[in-house]
């Protein structure tokens, strides 16, 4: 199972189209969470999808997946890392009207190369990368999971702040 998630705000047609083209020629099941779709948004023809899923359904689909495909948002990155699933991400481009600014390019660049995190520079790169990552991904990945909590340094700084006298 591939779980495609593009966040909860704008649609991300460029990525959805690329995954749909891949799904057209493969037997692997795909499910898409496609965000707030517009009247002219691209609707996939080769896999089921919803605009939104509940937090519980998100977690279930994540855990059942072999590969997470998403936009380059921190939600996707943290979800993938904490579940120990590989993530293929593509940045939303403000220049293409996909986001309000170009911060996903920066996010993708900063996290590319961390174990389990992979970046597609553009939609053309998506199908080959999906093939490559599915070939690598073991169905029951062991390890690679991160702690559910922030770095002790940050947790301590916040705790000190909470209990600080004014």
């Amino acid at each position: 199972m591939i779980f495609l998630t593009v966040g909860t705000q704008e649609p991300f047609d460029r990525l959805v189209r690329a995954v749909d083209a891949w799904a057209a020629t493969h037997d692997v099941p795909v499910f898409g969470q496609l965000g707030r779709l517009a009247a002219d948004s691209y609707l996939p023809r080769h896999f089921p999808f919803e605009s939104f899923v509940s937090a519980d359904e998100f977690q279930e689909r994540l855990e059942a997946s072999r590969l997470l495909v998403g936009h380059a948002g921190m939600g996707s990155i943290i979800s993938a890392l904490s579940a120990g699933k590989p993530l293929l991400m593509m940045a939303r481009r403000a220049a293409l009207g996909e986001h309000r600014n170009e911060h996903q390019l920066a996010t993708a660049a900063r996290f590319a190369g961390r174990p389990g995190l992979h970046v597609a520079a553009d939609a053309q790169a998506v199908p080959d990368l999906i093939d490559e990552l599915l070939a690598q991904a073991s169905p029951t990945p062991g390890g690679g999971q991160i702690s559910p909590y922030a770095s002790p340094e940050l947790v301590n700084a916040i705790r000190d702040f909470i209990h600080q006298r004014r």
Partner: protein
Amino acid sequence: MKRVLVISSTGGHWVQLLRLMPAWDGCEVHYACTSPDHEERVRAAVAARGQAVASYTAVCDANRWTKAKLVRQMLEVAALVLRVRPEVILTTGASAGYFAIRAGKLLGARTCWIDSIANGEELSLSGERAGPHADLFLTQWPELQRGDRPGYSGSIL
């Protein structure tokens, strides 16, 4: 027991906020998000740490392109802060956190803005605006640290 409000928008901001959970063990903690969706899960995660959720409030979702919703969100967040009267407010953004910090300051709360880790090249727009009003202003990227405003004390990863 310190009364703390932790608030953020849904999605990545919320995921980041919850990763700070051990910091507020032992406090009376009120949770707020722009989605009602997370209540059950957060209650379970908090219970697993032997802690309690004092309240969970869903406020209107908005961003800076949806002005009417933004006004509604501001009013809902202000009402929440008036009701809870937190001593400390913690947020990872975005606009809901900004409103909480502004309302909290008026009511004498101490406030903390942790800028999203998604903003690695420059501070978030809401962070630039909220930071000057926060008592503790943190970035998660050492490159963006400017003394202690924002300061850097590690990240949520």
